[in-house]
């Protein structure tokens, strides 16, 4: 059923749907997220949460200065985060610019990492300011090079000026290119959307347009994946499942720097959308420095004393 049978794809139909969504009370949302942040996750649950978080990390390098060498090092770390401990799971994916996809895929395959997908950022990431033609080519290039996941950005300018149908149609077009070859994550850049009402609207808009995952941020600006923003997105996927029977994934990215932050995210998932979402196919964490903190906490739990950054690899 096109658009899950909830809208007909027209401007009016989309606007009506979005306008009817209940508002988000910001103070209430902040309070709920803060309360969930007080959950105390210890011992066995903490150990489970650390390994789960590692398996959900989309290990990312998105620098203008990226080179083949940098990407290859990232891939090696993605497959075997801790060279001294083979029990550490591989991460959820490797995330790079689309002109590095081929390098990543080739290297991963050569080091026993065929199970690690390559995600490419796309559609003139991070600004999203380019012609549709360029955005489409961007996506095609990534898929041809071997990307199994596409992280696209929405046009925030169009969104903030109320042209929801333009934002919608862009997602539909990119989804069409992804087809069966790649899953599509839609990045909102919540720091630019600012209000929780906007985040809720963007969530539904993206899901109706065909997103497989909704993602908070590019990681290039702050604030990014704050707990209340992720809460609102988790509520959206939870309610969308009630409406349609389909589970859409959520990816917070940016600002999740340490194990405590990551565990807070897992608690949010657990108590909002539900434990069904606690799997890499429905929840990912976009991060780079986080991985080493997860490893150090894992070491502390196994050894009983605090680790030092010297005992984890820099890449």
């Amino acid at each position: 059923m096109k658009f899950y049978g909830l809208i007909d794809g027209s401007d009016t139909s989309l606007k009506n749907f979005l306008v009817k969504l209940p508002g988000v009370d910001a103070v209430g949302a902040d309070a709920r997220a803060a309360m969930l942040g007080t959950r105390s996750i210890k011992t066995t649950s903490k150990r489970w949460a650390i390994d789960t978080a590692i398996s959900m990390v989309d290990l990312t390098t998105l620098e203008g200065a990226d080179t083949e060498g940098k990407v290859q090092a990232l891939c090696a770390k993605a497959v075997r985060p801790d060279p001294t401990d083979p029990s550490v799971p591989s991460v959820g994916a490797v995330c790079v610019y689309n002109d590095m996809v081929a390098v990543a895929r080739k290297h991963l395959d050569s080091i026993g990492g065929t199970h690690v997908p390559v995600a490419a950022v796309s559609t003139a990431f991070p600004s999203g300011r380019a012609s549709m033609k360029v955005k489409i080519q961007d996506t095609k290039d990534a898929i041809e090079a071997g990307a199994a996941e596409i992280d696209m950005v929405i046009d925030r300018g169009a969104f903030l000026s109320g042209n929801y149908i333009d934002v919608f149609n862009e997602i539909v077009a990119i989804k069409e290119i992804c087809g069966e070859k790649a899953h599509l994550k839609v990045i909102f850049e919540t720091g630019e959307l600012v209000t929780y009402d906007n985040v809720r609207k963007a969530s539904y808009l993206a899901m109706l347009a065909g997103a497989d995952f909704i993602k908070t941020s590019t990681g290039k600006i702050a604030p990014a994946a704050t707990p209340p923003v992720v809460l609102v997105m988790l509520e959206a996927v939870r309610d969308f499942y009630e409406m349609t029977g389909v589970r859409i994934g959520v990816k917070p990215a940016g600002g999740i720097r340490n194990t405590k932050d990551a565990i807070k995210q897992l608690v949010l998932v657990n108590e909002t959308a539900g434990p069904e979402w606690l799997t890499p196919s429905l929840f990912r964490i976009g991060a780079s420095a986080l991985l080493n903190d997860l490893l150090m906490q894992r070491m502390k739990m196994d050894n009983g004393y605090y680790a030092s950054p010297q005992y984890v690899t820099i890449d």
């Binding site: 209940p22 009370d25 007080t38 105390s40 996750i41 210890k42 066995t44 649950s45």
Partner: protein, 479 residues
């Protein structure tokens, strides 16, 4: 794939409970004659043995309070009085962990609540009132206002330390001295508070603590040496107190029961409203005078809302109050548990539909699962009588005025909640609701600057804010 939270118990190591306590009178602990046990309602473990205050003890306490007033306290400037209160506030902040653990042990409430709500608010009350002590000329009470003298204060078991702060702080700030009786089932944090008074160097006899039961309370209420009574507890006892002092010149303030309505309009922010309803009735196990015990929801959204509410209730963690992840702790006493059960059975027999999420309750201790009754109407006992437990009665309304009428249709008038994204509607509802505290798009929010108290049978007077000061002064020009 489930994410089980491993036990995360707060340590009891910060607290040391004596096996036996006397009363705190004239700046020291004096032995009591008869004793009774105080237990941990989550495990039924006996925590300590406290004294049952009799005539001799109450007389001694009042005498000590009068002496402290005449000899010392009335001679201090407001500025110096205030400094003692600032010290008390800071020491409560320093010993916060200890007080939070002790409160959860004695009361049964989750450590997260005693740690994040009860203790910080208690410290804040002392800090706020400390600042009024030397500013009464700016409090709008006129130039002839004076303290009553010796005040008798009787506090309930639901927020033991916080209720102590709500009573003692303004009393002392305005120049009174105090005889305070903590509730029968929760005396321990009041007794620990005596140590704070010591550490703050508070002059002997300014605060006296006499433990006991209803009979001890009656002795205080009827004592001729007490000039003013402040009581928080049930409406039933509040009326008895009002009758007892009718032929005296004693001043009385009462903070009694409630049956608050949480009015949810169709244009509410739904997820945050669900959260607010849950907080409104399940916070502190529903042992809250201002609990939102009636959900009055606009019929057009009630089915969808109830479904969301039930799903949310499934996430409520019931269990060991000392576990940092517990949301709903133990019922404070066997007696209270029986009352909750009795009223819930009435709900069943009167035709309302009961629902609780699946939860495993411990064998020992007093426990009740979070519960909602749908299909409730005004004529049900569970819509009328205060249950004082984690039980929500759900009624519906069609038009805004009908919602208001149902909300107001009660002899109580302590609090109400209004949920709507439309500002003018929340203000309109606030104007029409007959309640002393109205929370719009939030619930159970307390602050020392914000006056709290009820209309109608929910009591007399206010606590907190500038308004709360007048209770402790006589000769207030606009009384």
């Amino acid at each position: 794939m489930t994410f089980e939270y491993a036990p995360a118990p707060e340590s009891r190591a910060s607290v040391s409970i004596k096996p036996k306590y006397g009363h705190y009178i004239g700046g020291k602990f004096v032995a009591g004659e008869k004793h009774f046990p105080t237990i941990n309602p989550a495990t039924e473990e006996v925590l300590s043995s406290v004294a049952l205050g009799g005539k001799k003890d109450v007389d001694a306490a009042v005498k000590s309070a009068k002496k402290a007033l005449d000899v010392h306290w009335s001679k201090l400037s407001g500025r110096e009085r205030g400094k003692y209160l600032f010290r008390i506030a800071r020491i409560l902040q320093e010993r916060a962990r200890e007080f939070a653990v002790l409160e959860s042990l004695d009361n049964g409430k989750p450590i997260r609540e005693s740690r994040d709500v009860d203790v910080p608010l208690a410290a804040a009350h002392f800090f706020y009132h400390a600042g009024w002590a030397d500013k009464l000329e700016f409090a709008g009470v006129g130039t002839k206002a004076k303290p009553h003298g010796v005040v008798g204060q009787i506090i309930p078991w639901n927020f033991p330390l916080l209720m102590l702060a709500w009573k003692v702080a303004p009393a002392l700030a305005t120049g009174n001295t105090v005889v305070l009786k903590p509730a029968e089932t929760t005396p321990l944090t009041a007794l620990l508070f005596a140590e704070v008074c010591e550490q703050a160097g508070l002059p002997a006899g300014v605060v006296n603590i006499v433990t006991g039961d209803g009979s001890t309370g009656a002795l205080i209420v009827n004592h001729p040496g007490i000039n003013k009574i402040a009581f928080t507890g049930s409406t039933e006892v509040g009326k008895i107190i009002a009758e007892s002092v009718a032929s005296t010149s004693k001043s009385v303030t009462l903070e009694l029961g409630g049956k608050a309505a949480n009015l949810v309009f169709e244009d509410a922010a739904i997820d945050e409203s669900v959260e607010g309803i849950v907080n409104g009735i399940f916070f502190n196990q529903g042992h809250v005078c201002c609990a939102g015990s009636r959900l009055i929801i606009q019929e057009s959204i009630s089915d969808e809302f109830i479904k969301k509410l039930q799903k949310r209730m499934e996430k409520i963690r019931v269990g060991d109050p000392l576990d940092k992840n517990t949301d709903l702790g133990a019922i404070n006493s066997r007696a209270q548990l029986e009352k909750i059960k009795e009223l819930s059975l009435a709900g069943d027999s009167e035709g309302a539909e009961r629902w609780s999420p699946q939860c495993s309750l411990p064998d020992k201790g007093f426990w009740f699962a979070p519960t909602i009754f749908t299909g409730v109407t005004q004529s049900h006992r569970i819509a009328r009588e205060e249950i004082f437990g984690p039980v929500l009665s759900v009624l519906t309304f069609r038009t805004p005025q009908e919602g208001i009428d149902k909300a107001n249709n009660t002899p109580f008038g302590l609090s109400a909640g209004v949920w709507s994204e439309k500002g003018s509607k929340t203000l309109w509802a606030s104007q029409k609701l007959k309640a002393g505290v109205i929370w719009t798009n939030t619930f159970n929010k307390f602050d020392p600057t914000s006056p709290f108290g009820g209309y109608k049978e929910s009591g007399w007077g206010r606590e907190g804010g500038r308004h709360g000061l007048t209770a402790y002064l006589k000769g207030v020009t606009h009384e």
